[in-house]
C-alpha cells in the first residue's frame, strides 16, 4: 500500500525554477532516499507534499490525503524535520517541545523524554544557546514525539558532526524497524546508500532516476585506477567510450567507466599498465556517472 504518492507534481517559480511533473510512490514501511544537489528542488518537493506551498499542477498525497485539503489529519500522522530548523528564542527546549506536543490529543511527554535521552538533548537549555546540531536534535524529537507513521527528513544530517550524525542514523534505523515510512532527502549519497531501500534522483527539478539501491550498485559502472608507464600518454584509454571524470596524478590515472568490461580490458591491454585496480564504485560515483559532474548546479 502506498504511503506517499506524487502525481505529476509541479511547482514552478518565476524564472523557471522549481519541480516539474514528479511521479513517485513510496510504499508503507519503505525508506526512500530523495537525492539531488543543492537547489535541485528537494525542499520544494517536500514543502509541496506537506501543503506548505501549493502545487502549480498535479498533486501529492500522504496516507491517501492531500495536505492542502486535509491538513491536520495528515500532519498528525507525519513527523517533519526541516533542513534548517529554527526554534523560538526565549524558550527552553523542553517548553518548545511541550508547546508542539500540545497540538496532539495523546500525551507526548513520556516519548519526548525517551527521545531526548536517546539523542542526549538537554531540555533545560534555551533555544538561542543551541548549536545547529542541537537544534536539529530538538527538531528530530519534535518530529518523532507523537510516534508518526511517516517521517519526512529534509537534509537531516547536514551541518552535523559525525557523532551526532551516527546518533541520527540510529534513531532513523529504529523508526525503520518500527515500520515507519521514511522519506529521506539528502545530497550525501553515502547516507542514502546506508539507510534507504530505494532512491529517487532529482536533477533540475525532475526525477531522472528511481531505482533500488542494490540495483544502482549493480550497474555496470566501475571505478578504475591504473598506474602507467610515464612514457605512455594513455590517449587510447581516455578515448574509450564510457570513460568519465579522468584524474591524472603523476603515474596514476583514475576514472569511472560505464560500459562493457571486455572493452575496458581490451583498452587496458593496449597501454603500458604497471598496476590496475577495478572496483565497485560508491553510489555517489554511480550517480555522478549518470549526472555528469556538472549536473550539480540545478
Amino acid at each position: 500500500m502506498s504511503t506517499i504518492t506524487l502525481e505529476h507534481l509541479t511547482k514552478l517559480y518565476p524564472g523557471g525554477r522549481g519541480v516539474r511533473d514528479l511521479d513517485l510512490v513510496v510504499e508503507r514501511g519503505e525508506v526512500l532516499g530523495f537525492i539531488g544537489p543543492n537547489g535541485a528542488g528537494k525542499s520544494t518537493t517536500i514543502r509541496t507534499m506537506l501543503g506548505l506551498i501549493a502545487p502549480t499542477a498535479g498533486c501529492a498525497r500522504i496516507l491517501g490525503l492531500d495536505a492542502r485539503v486535509a491538513g491536520p489529519a495528515v500532519w498528525a500522522r507525519v513527523g517533519y524535520l526541516p533542513s534548517e530548523p529554527r526554534l523560538y528564542d526565549g524558550m527552553t527546549v523542553g517548553a518548545i517541545l511541550e508547546y508542539l506536543g500540545r497540538f496532539f490529543e495523546t500525551d507526548t511527554s513520556a516519548r519526548r523524554r525517551v527521545l531526548a535521552e536517546m539523542v542526549e538533548l538537554d531540555l533545560s537549555r534555551r533555544a538561542e544557546d543551541l548549536s545547529i546540531g542541537n537544534k536539529k536534535k530538538v527538531a528530530l524529537v519534535a518530529a518523532l514525539q507523537h510516534t508518526p507513521e511517516v517521517l519526512i527528513l529534509d537534509e537531516p544530517t547536514s551541518g552535523l558532526d559525525p557523532l551526532i550524525q551516527a546518533r541520527f542514523f540510529e534513531v532513523i534505523q529504529e523508526e525503520r524497524a518500527r515500520g515507519t515510512t521514511v522519506f529521506f532527502s539528502s545530497h550525501v549519497l553515502s547516507e542514502v546508500e546506508r539507510l534507504c531501500d530505494r532512491v529517487a534522483i532529482l536533477r533540475d527539478g525532475a526525477i531522472v532516476e528511481l531505482a533500488r539501491v542494490v540495483d544502482l550498485q549493480a550497474r555496470q559502472v566501475k571505478r578504475v585506477r591504473v598506474r602507467l608507464d610515464p612514457a605512455d600518454a594513455a590517449a587510447d584509454l581516455l578515448a574509450l567510450a564510457g570513460v568519465r571524470d579522468p584524474v591524472r596524478d603523476g603515474e596514476g590515472l583514475s576514472f569511472v567507466y560505464r560500459g562493457d568490461v571486455k572493452r575496458l580490458l581490451g583498452a587496458l591491454a593496449g597501454v603500458a599498465v604497471i598496476d590496475a585496480t577495478i572496483e565497485e564504485p560508491s553510489l555517489e560515483e554511480i550517480v555522478l556517472s549518470h549526472y555528469g559532474k556538472g549536473g550539480g548546479d540545478g
Binding site: L52, R86, Y99, F103, E105, A139
Partner: protein
C-alpha cells in the same frame, strides 16, 4: 495512531503562546504611554485655571490646523475636553504598537523560520490565525485599558472630578477600536509579503501614512476627501467630546477591522510558506 488535539485546545495553545511572546512588548509600549498620559492629566488643575488664556491662544490658530491636530472646540474647564486636545499622541503610540503587533503576528513565524514547524503541526492555519488575532486583540485592548487606568487613576489622585465620565470612557473605547483596526490592517498588508523581516518598517509606514492623510486632508480642502481613508479620522477625541459618547465612526473602525482580519485570514490560508 496520533490524533490531533481538538480545535479548542489547539487554539488555546497558540493563544497562550502569543500572549507569552508579546507581553513584554506590551509593557515596553504601555508603561511610557501610561507615564505620559498620567503626567499630562496631572496638569488638569492648571489647565482649568488658565483655560481662558489657552483658549485665547488657540483662537489665533487657523481652524484647519486645530482640526488637523484634533484640538478644535477645546474647553479646558472640562477634563474630558482637555484630555481630547492631546489624545492624538496616545492614539498614535497605541496605533504604532497595534500596527507593529499586527504586521509581525504572522510574519514573525516566517522571519524567524519557525513557521515551517508550526504550520506542519496538526492544526489548521485558520485556527492558528484566529488564535493569534484573539491574542493580538486582547493585547491592544489591554493597551487601551492601561491608558484609561492611568488617566482615571491620575484624575482620582489629584482630586479632579470628571464632569462627563462617559465621554472619557468613550474616548478610550474609540481608541481601542482604532488600535484593533491598525492591528488588523498591519496584519493584512504583510500577510502576503515575501519579505517578512520588513514587517515592522512596513507597519510604521502604514500608520504614519494613514495619520498623515488625515492631517493633510484637514489642512487642504481639495484633499479633504482623503480623510475618509484614514482610521484616525474616525477616532478623533474632539468628535467624541462633541458627540458626548461613541461617534458613528466607531462602527466604521470595527467593520474595517473585521474585514481586514477576514481578508488576512483568507489570504494566509492560500499563502506559500517558505520558512
Amino acid at each position: 495512531m496520533a490524533e490531533p488535539a481538538s480545535v479548542g485546545a489547539a487554539f488555546m495553545n497558540v493563544f497562550r503562546r502569543e500572549l507569552g511572546f508579546a507581553w513584554r512588548s506590551l509593557l515596553v509600549w504601555l508603561i511610557p504611554g501610561m507615564a505620559m498620559i498620567g503626567l499630562t492629566v496631572s496638569m488638569q488643575p492648571e489647565m482649568s485655571k488658565e483655560g481662558s488664556l489657552f483658549a485665547a491662544k488657540l483662537d489665533m490658530v487657523p481652524k484647519e490646523v486645530l482640526v488637523a491636530f484634533g484640538v478644535q472646540g477645546a474647553d479646558f474647564g472640562d477634563p474630558a475636553s482637555t484630555l481630547a486636545t492631546n489624545f492624538t499622541i496616545y492614539e498614535l503610540i497605541g496605533a504604532a504598537f497595534a500596527g507593529i503587533l499586527g504586521a509581525t503576528v504572522l510574519a514573525k513565524e516566517e522571519a524567524f523560520g519557525t513557521g515551517e514547524m508550526l504550520y506542519t503541526m496538526p492544526v489548521s492555519r485558520r485556527t492558528i490565525v484566529l488564535a493569534k488575532v484573539a491574542a493580538g486583540l486582547v493585547l491592544v485592548g489591554l493597551f487601551a485599558l492601561g491608558l484609561a487606568g492611568a488617566t482615571l487613576g491620575t484624575f482620582a489622585a489629584i482630586g479632579v472630578t470628571l464632569i462627563r465620565p462617559a465621554v472619557v470612557a468613550a474616548m478610550f473605547a474609540v481608541a481601542g477600536a482604532l488600535f484593533a483596526t491598525m492591528f488588523a490592517l498591519g496584519m493584512l498588508i504583510t500577510v502576503r509579503s515575501s519579505r517578512p523581516r520588513n514587517a515592522t518598517s512596513t507597519a510604521l509606514g502604514l500608520i504614519f501614512g494613514l495619520y498623515g492623510i488625515n492631517v493633510v486632508g484637514a489642512l487642504n480642502d481639495s484633499l479633504a476627501g482623503l480623510r475618509a481613508l484614514s482610521p484616525f479620522r474616525y477616532a478623533e477625541a474632539a468628535q467624541v467630546v462633541k458627540a458626548g459618547g461613541l461617534p458613528g465612526g466607531t462602527l466604521v473602525l470595527m467593520v474595517v477591522a473585521l474585514a481586514a482580519i477576514a481578508a488576512a485570514c483568507l489570504l494566509f490560508e492560500r499563502k506559500d510558506i517558505h520558512a
